[in-house]
Amino acid sequence: MIGYILRRFGAALLVLFAISVLVFLIFFATPGVDPAARIAGKNADPATLAQVRASFGFDRPLPVQYALMMKHLFISHDLTSFVNRGTLVIPQIIEAVPVTLSLVVGAAVIWMVLGVGMGTLAGAMRGTLVDPLVMLLGVFGVSLPVYWLGEVVNLITQKQLHDSVFSWVPPLGYVPMSEGIGQWALHLLFPWLTLALLYAGIYARLLRGELINALNEDYVRTARAKGLSERRILVKHALRCSLIPIVSLFGLDFGALVGGAALLTEVVFGLPGVGKLTYQALQNLDLPVIMGTVLYAAFFVVLANAVVDVLYARLDPRVRRA
């Protein structure tokens, strides 16, 4: 088991290295793309271009540029932005992380409770009205664009019904937890609900399918033959097995969201998280910030993948030999 864990995390490190090289190559070595030209502006004369090249170190060989950037990022921690020269990258990211974590953790709690609840209900009450409703929500979960849903929520809570039903909704933005946990939660309530609603639908639908499969298994028939109550069979036997794929999917989705998939939600609700930071950096092509945030994001995705794999190996010994 230890050997498997070591191998799995070794592979994760390799993937992270490959991603950092890939991002670097996208921005510095794509044919026809010149970072100096982007920084200097559209119609810069050759002298300015040469000056920008020398000042940012673009005239050095690619591997040297890559190594220098990694050194500033990981060893001396003093990577600075290209656009706002002098602004350090790492503190910017550290400042943005709590916002993204607040958003994703809160939404994750809501969607897991809702998703597991609705999925179990639909699986147990197959043939009643609950079942098609959950299925419908699941289809909407994969189909509706989250940023659009966020905008409609904003429209209703900030404008249309702001004077009556939703007068208690604060303006868009983020309030740190240090300024009172109530305000923090209030500002994040609608972002949480928007993000959670779509995932809850997807998870409920998946769990329903797994439950229905599990309820046809032999061990459920055995449990029935033993005379256990339907409720006990559902919760203690069928649900336990059905939750395994849910948990593994949760690991991946959570990692992806913390690692930047919440970008759209952050942009729409004006939350200054990592996704928004990345988005701003991309708009003015601030390469060091992009490098930092993408590596941060990839770190979470790779970590989540590795943790899910290790958990699977813990549950199923056959995986360890693969």
Binding site: P31, V33, F140, V142, S143, V152, S248, V294
Partner: protein
Amino acid sequence: MTSPVRATAEQPAAGAPAAGPPARPSAGPWRRALGRLRHNRSAMIAGAGLLLIVLACVLAPVYANAIAHTDPFTSNASGTVVVNGERVPVLAQSTEGLGLGVTPVGPTWDPGNYFLGADNQGRDVMARLLYGGRNSLLIGLSSAVVCCALATVLGVLAGYFGGWIDAVLSRFFDVIWAFPVYLLAICLSVVLLTSGLHLGPIHIDAGSLALPVVIIALIYVPYVARPLRGQVMALRNKEFLHAAVGLGASDLRIMRREVLPNVLPTVVVFLPLMTALNMLTESALSFLSVGVQSPDASWGTIINDGLALLYTRPAITIAAGLCVGLTAVALNVLGDGVRDALDPNARLRGGA
């Protein structure tokens, strides 16, 4: 995970579309699947809805020229329009705040006359919606086709040959898989949208629609390729493959005639679902203004245009978002029907 292995004699030629099985006396697997799909009421309703949307978008020029008499790609800042018998400017000076902005005319609900109102450049939103739908659907469908084709080739190669080919391709999938999808797409778009792509003989101009197609197709390759690779690896040990090897068939022939027909149902299952996913990704990229570029429209760019007018003219954003959502719902319901008909055990999300 594996689809039932069928004798190759029953298979239609590789690449035959699921919708049109060749005529033959005994019903083949494709025809039987089509029959099952036909009896799936929700899938048929979704398919009909999808057809309507596609038809409406294809007829966009007819609407713009014959009904609305407008050019949805040029701005109409000084134009006027008759609403309720009164002639009002298309773009009215804003009365709120400093009065600097403009408020476009709202929905008139008159098909010949700014049905859904105008956007902030005085262009007819309804006509732009139809034209935008063409781009959104085109990008979604073509990138799904490119993605599935590329993933089939790579997945079959990796699964069939194993060894170092599999090792290299799998690491490639791992890296793309671990890259946050939207970030990768945005990175590629930001770089390529300014200069276009010039790779050897391939030249794609910066404003071309092919750019988002290629980018979106590329980022989702592991989604499709990984399950296919697993299927092919399971097929490797089947007897009919050993028989083909024993008959002296070449690798290429075995892959084409024995392996491909067995994984094709899964590819077909992926197609509508990937089209929905890719269309959503396209609209998200366009919403972030790194997808389709102005003056071209897509549903994403229209949502983005409507963002500044969200509180005054919400119809723009709501209509475009409903189009994306409804099309995606139709594609997903249809895709579920196709999966139930062809390969009910396919695991499409999560990959684990």
